[in-house]
């Protein structure tokens, strides 16, 4: 094993283990609120993993967008439904579960067959470019990627209009 047990490796292992556990928790918890909390935790840890990759800008954006906005919305909706009728969210067993688990594991195995051999030939290279610098991110976003940026902004606009429309039908 060329991978040495450095402090960094230990920290990474801790973060990654936490993230993996949280990911399992998302799927395994029967209670949707707990699933959501696991996901929040997972995303929060992912933010730290992004920090470890030296993309600080995205790490903090991850926390702002996912933990701060998206997951709050999720929890809000879950609790709203829970408030409405809590019995609805109970899970029932059916035959797709074992099949799904089997296939999921198969997928993991397939992908691992590509990843595991990579452990053997690890050579670390120094990071040359500052990916996490907000200036660099901004400049790239508004020059090379300005068209996708505009497209995504348009998509967000459509999303806003759509959600307002969905919510507004009640008014009429």
């Amino acid at each position: 094993m060329p991978v040495k047990l450095t402090l960094e490796m230990v920290i990474f292992a801790a973060l990654a283990g936490a993230a993996a556990l949280a990911a399992v928790g998302v799927v395994a918890f029967r209670n949707a609120t707990r699933s959501a909390l696991c996901l929040v935790f997972n995303f929060f840890v992912l933010g730290f993993l992004y920090f470890s990759l030296q993309v600080e800008m995205l790490g903090i954006t991850q926390v702002v967008v996912y933990t701060g906005a998206i997951m709050v919305l999720f929890i809000f909706v879950i609790m709203l439904l829970n408030l409405g009728s809590s019995h609805l969210l109970a899970e029932k067993f059916d035959g797709k579960k074992p099949v799904g688990i089997f296939f999921g594991i198969a997928l993991a195995v397939l992908l691992s067959s590509q990843i595991v051999p990579m452990f053997a030939r690890t050579e670390s290279k120094p990071l040359v470019y500052p990916l996490g610098d907000s200036k660099v991110v901004g400049q790239t976003l508004f020059t090379s990627y300005v068209f996708p940026f505009e497209a995504v902004s348009f998509l967000l606009l459509v999303g806003i209009v759509g959600s307002i429309l969905l919510a507004k039908r009640r008014m009429s």
């Binding site: 997928l107 992908l111 990843i115 990916l131 999303g159 039908r169």
Partner: protein, 111 residues
């Protein structure tokens, strides 16, 4: 983190993605399915960033190529935000209409 190999990040990404896939199939609560999709998206984001960090941001790559990863992550985040806003709105609308959100019973679109 020079001590951590790329494969470690990819392994985590792979694990999260597979977990998400399993979750999408075995869960019946559409909100949880949604969350599993978010999990998969984030797994992919992690893969994007680790590739950008390990493959492109090194001396062999260029800033232009390396920024592809973070850019895609930003776009994925934005798309995810829009998706969640609309998706949760739809779930709420379905709930208002049918008092039920079990995906297995939401099969009005069958042929």
């Amino acid at each position: 983190m020079n001590g951590v190999p790329l494969s470690a990040y990819l392994g985590l990404s792979m694990f999260m993605f597979s977990t998400g896939v399993i979750g999408v199939i075995i869960r019946r609560n559409p909100i949880v399915i949604f969350m599993c999709i978010e999990l998969m998206l984030n797994a992919v984001n992690l893969a994007f960033l680790s590739f950008a960090r390990y493959k492109f941001a090194t001396a062999e790559g260029s800033l232009e190529s390396a920024m592809g990863g973070p850019m895609f992550v930003i776009f994925v985040m934005a798309v995810a935000a829009a998706e969640v806003a609309v998706g949760l709105g739809i779930i709420m609308a379905i709930f208002r209409l049918r008092e039920n959100i079990d995906v297995d019973e939401l099969n009005l679109l069958k042929g």
